[in-house]
Symmetry: C2
Subunit: 257 residues, 2 copies
DNA sequence: CAACTCACTTTCATTCAATGAAAGGACCGC
DNA sequence: GCGGTCCTTTCATTGAATGAAAGTGAGTTG
């Protein structure tokens, strides 16, 4: 007799579980790994994965393992497109001005989601990744995003566990809330080796209204350059302003076809 | 009695049809539009769309319409990641050197799929879009990609319809095949107002072996700058070489975790 | 080279999740 | 209030999805 169908019974949920298998971990997975990660029997995984592959949501690499397919990538490019496309040229300007890794992030739950990033082959303090996440309290963009949230969101955040990727990460709830107040007052946040040793960062909000941040704009620098961080503040604020008005313009113009 | 369930019966295919609705057309759709585009009854579309929304594959905008969600975007960032992450810093270098819109494309069927793109707020000849497609025969990157394909692929391509976005598009099959030969011989392709009036482009292959192009690297310029196109050729070729070896290194190092 | 292993693929009887007709909101403008 | 459009919920019916079991095939061992 077929084994009892378990919870989360909808086919849709199974398909999504397969996609979720690619959220973390290695970028290519065997069928068995997918089945295990998604909690499916091998035949079921096989059939669904085949359908996804045929459509182009997944694709097989030369070794037979599966990766995310280009067609899914293509469709998903529409996600967050408004913000990303409005911001991209100015993010590029920021990089040209500062020659430092520039990035744009939004808040997703307890993490900062990196929407876009500009950097060259020269200096690359690699912590974030486009499509990657980092905890809000350990990054400058994250602190900015949280500083512009309502008080109860901030309190809910510090009520949760504050992990410490390095010894310098600020993990004291009370002091962190005070830091958030200071950040909102002065309009920018900084970190020094709070995500990874050797890297520091500075960020400002992209505002929509006086108290609402739709995104955060940041620079990552090597710790050796930390002294010059403040020098980039005018550039950051200027570019953030331009992005804010570009978004406004898009909102007024209406939905991009 | 419920209406006859039609072809393409699997739930997976329905879910994918919903995603496909976002491939073309406006970036946000109402439930009714999704149902129509995917060929589903309203209740079915409703249930599936709800599940997708709950997971984060779709999200509702303030007006209640649906767009591609950030979680799907995040997962799909893994698609083509190897190539994109290897190439990105060099693509940025190319832009810094030339100050012209730089892009990277791969072949997907009869079209060039734009994998990445670097440009600033200054000059923006907007034809391509990251995640967008253009016909192979109308773009410099497309011509390069086709020139390095085997002969039978080229012939199959010209056997299909060669659309002409502008009056200058090359649509004569025989002459186009000759152009492909010349392109492979000289190692680069150009267009002049073949996609859209006012814009021209130049592209070189990113090679893996002497006869295989894994991608194409291109610049878009305003037609007024057409005379200076050739001046950028050394930069293009140099950067393409660096990208090629970066990819090689990644292949040897193995799959990125 | 047979015996074994491991990862994937196919088959098929059983059954429960998916389906759409129908009816029920919600919000328009008139 | 009334016709309109769009979205949401309900529910009896049923066929698409399921997993046990058997099959394939590449690789490894004795």
């Amino acid at each position: 007799m077929p084994r009892q169908r378990l919870a989360g019974q909808s086919v849709t949920s199974r398909v999504l579980a397969i996609l979720a298998a690619f959220e973390v971990g290695p970028s290519s997975l065997s069928l068995t790994q997918i089945a295990e990660s998604a909690g499916l029997s091998l035949p079921t995984a096989h059939r669904l994965v085949n359908e996804l592959t045929e459509w182009g949501a997944l694709q097989r690499d030369p070794t037979g393992r599966y990766q995310v397919g280009l067609r899914l990538w293509e469709v998903a490019q529409h996600g967050g497109r408004q913000l990303r496309e409005a911001a991209r040229p100015y993010l590029q300007d920021l990089f040209s001005l500062t020659q430092e890794t520039s990035h744009l992030a939004v808040r997703e739950g307890r993490e900062a989601l990196y929407i876009d990033r500009v950097y060259s082959s020269k200096r690359v303090p690699r912590a974030s990744r486009v499509g990657g996440r980092l905890p809000l309290h350990a990054t400058a963009v994250g602190k900015v995003l949280l500083a512009y949230e309502e008080r109860w969101v901030q309190e809910a955040y510090v009520a949760g566990p504050l992990e410490a990727p390095t010894a310098r990460t600020h993990v004291h709830p009370g002091r962190f809330l005070e830091e958030l107040d200071r950040i909102k007052e002065q309009g920018h946040a900084t970190t020094f080796e709070e995500v990874r040793p050797g890297a520091c960062s500075i960020a400002v909000p992209v505002l929509k209204g006086p108290d609402t941040a739709v995104a955060a704009l940041g620079l990552s620098l090597l710790s050796a350059q930390a002294a010059q961080m403040a020098r980039h503040l005018p550039a950051l604020q200027g570019v953030a302003g331009r992005i804010a008005s570009a978004i406004d313009r898009r909102w007024i113009t209406g939905v991009v076809p």
